[in-house]
Amino acid sequence: MITKQLIDQIEGEASVYFDMKNEKVNFSTIAFPHFRGIENILKGKNALDALVITPRVCGICGHAHLMSSVRAIEDAYKNAGYEVHLSKKAKKIREFTLVMEIIQNHLKWVYMVLIPELSKLRNSNEENYTLKGAYGARLATKAISLLGGQWPHSSYMVPGGVTSDPTYIEILQAQSILKDLIQFFEKESLGVNLDEFLTYKTPKEISVGEADVSKIEEHLIELGMQEKGLAYDRFIMLGDHLFINPIKMKQTRPFSVDIKHVSTVESYSPNEKTYARNAMYKDDYYEVGSLSRMMSLQIPLIKNIHRRYKDSAYSRVIARIYELAHLMKHANELLSTISISENSCNKPISIEKVTASGIGIVEAPRGPLIHKVDIENGIINKYEIITPTQWNIGSSTKDKLTPVQKTMFGHTKAEALFIFRTFDVCSVCTTH
């Protein structure tokens, strides 16, 4: 018997169709019901208009779309023979705002999704922590807007760099806000100093104390999540940044990657029409996001956790929390090394002169975000977007399960729904 479960609060909705056997999930398919056709909307428009329209794919990761879009356009410039060179300052400003967006995303996920879901699964009545997530996110986005103008939906990245030309006033204000954010995170979430947390090597160290993260760790073990929610133990990262490089991993073995092997296939959803497509690399499914990224960086704590618990739901959650700390530190480093006197934007030739294709890839909060554009005399002929959730939350047939389908198999429905959310799902991005 197939039962339908509506999942909301994932930046939109999705429906999971469960095929149960002895109260355990035997098979599941996922349908994403809403479609807005942004790739189509972009056809015939001036390529630069994509910088305003693509952030509207998503309200929580619009900034990642902006960066992916500008990279795609800059790649087209390069392929047309007019390579654009960014100053170090522009690269750092772009990366800073991207990283802060990841931070606000993860904070919201921890406090508005993870903690309530843990509480639900444990049948306990925990205090409402939603506003903690909103508070932390507000600080992070305030720092973004000093350089990006506003959050959500800024369009301050343009071919050649960024539109903003900050003084040390903005840099110092951003540093001060980041400091406040770190202090908040240390006090409420970690229970220890950020630097100390980043030196942890074992899960035991995390479980000490009464801070939110310690409680999360404790509850995950209580629910046995360190043995549940395993996928293929295969990871992929495609965005190229100062904090991460493109790479794929099978367990702990790294391999190089080439974007030309990325493809999408139709989703399998017999019970309801879905507008999502599954993303694959060389016809295989890979996990993307925080766990993938932290694995590729050879973080001792993550390696240790992975050795014991592989790519379980526990590993996925802890990796995302760890990434928060890791990125806060990285953001601080970026700010302190920005050179004000460099050019913000190296003006390229007019977009009307460009006839070429381009690909832009960025590590968005949930994983790699790919934008592909075909430009003719400055006008968009074709635009394609592949989002991170398409990698994690594909829906396929029994012979080749997607990461999420594999993780839900063999668990109770309640557990499966929790495990589903450990991927941090974004419905609007998936179908765009």
Partner: protein, 301 residues
């Protein structure tokens, strides 16, 4: 200020065709905790609420203020229920319906998802049209892509305090939308003396003449109530895209449409002849101070 439970405003927040940015913008409100204290969140897509989406689509309850985010698509369903019916049911007993964002106000970006049937709640771009046209007296349009959290906070607090919200002819609160995005822009002096910025990435220069800035034609308080408490697009050198107006999104957003070098659109309410005469005058004079950089890091090191 704590209100009695009986007097708390009952809110239902539903969505049409959206990207959710209005929710995330709202979460940035500094006074969010105290505002939420005065509201009964009957349903919200992300915040803790009294009911779930499944319960709310049973259409069995009511609210005082219905907030609708996203473009209206008569064929859209949420939890298999037509949003058309959800909207109809809850707007009936609501005292106010807030069209949150440009999509809900005028169609916005997602009108283009299905241009033949998508629209705002009472406007289809600038034409009066939409599912709530018959009850437009209770509709407040908070246009913007997304809205600024203080705009929603202002509107809800006015309602909580039982004050009438004066509206303009596009049903937007006058107190929020009487200013132009141009008011308070840090580049105003460059606008006055017609010093255009060539390209992007500089503190100096006005973006109206070449970079497509719609500031002087856009009703918004972005340079008065700053974004995220500290900033705005034009302050960081990004042109205003006119997102609070019914014609958003326009085309060729980063360049100014000119006819023989004459801007097609001039500041609101200013006759073209007047504008051209003033511009001609200003362009004649070159003000040395305004031609150089504000801060020359090279020479001051």
């Amino acid at each position: 200020m704590h209100l009695n439970p009986e007097t708390k405003l009952r809110i239902i927040w539903i969505q049409g065709v959206t990207c959710n940015a209005n929710i995330h913008s709202f979460l940035n409100l500094p006074s969010l905790p105290s505002l939420l204290d005065n509201l009964d969140m009957v349903y919200h897509p992300s915040l803790t609420s009294l009911h779930t989406l499944e319960e709310i689509t049973l259409l069995e309850t009511s609210c005082d203020v219905l907030i609708f985010e996203g473009a209206y698509d008569p064929l859209l369903k949420r939890n298999d229920v037509l949003v058309k019916n959800i909207l109809k049911h809850y707007s009936l007993n609501a005292k106010y319906v807030i069209a949150l964002g440009s999509c809900a106000s005028f169609g916005g970006i997602f009108k283009a998802s299905a241009p033949e049937r998508n629209s705002g709640l009472i406007f289809n771009e600038k034409e009066e049209f939409g599912p709530l046209l018959d009850s437009k007296a209770k509709v407040i349009n908070l246009s913007g892509c997304p809205i600024h959290p203080e705009w929603l906070s202002y509107t809800l607090n006015m309602i909580i305090n039982k004050r009438e919200v004066p509206l303009d002819n596009l049903y937007r609160p006058l107190e929020l939308y009487s200013n132009l995005a141009h008011h308070g822009c840090t580049r105003n002096e460059y606008f006055e003396w017609k010093i255009d910025t060539k390209g992007f990435g500089k503190k100096e220069g006005c973006m109206f003449y070449e970079q497509g800035c719609r500031g002087p034609m856009t009703h918004a308080s972005c340079n008065k109530i700053l974004w995220n408490e500290v900033s705005s697009k034009t302050r960081v050198g990004t042109p205003c895209f006119g997102c609070t107006e019914p014609d958003f999104p326009r085309s060729n957003l980063y360049s100014t449409k000119t006819n023989m070098s004459i801007p097609q659109d001039v500041p609101l309410g200013v006759p073209k002849r007047t504008y051209l005469t003033m511009t001609g005058m200003a362009k004649t004079f070159s003000i040395k101070r305004l031609e150089g950089k504000l801060i020359d890091y090279e020479t001051t090191d």
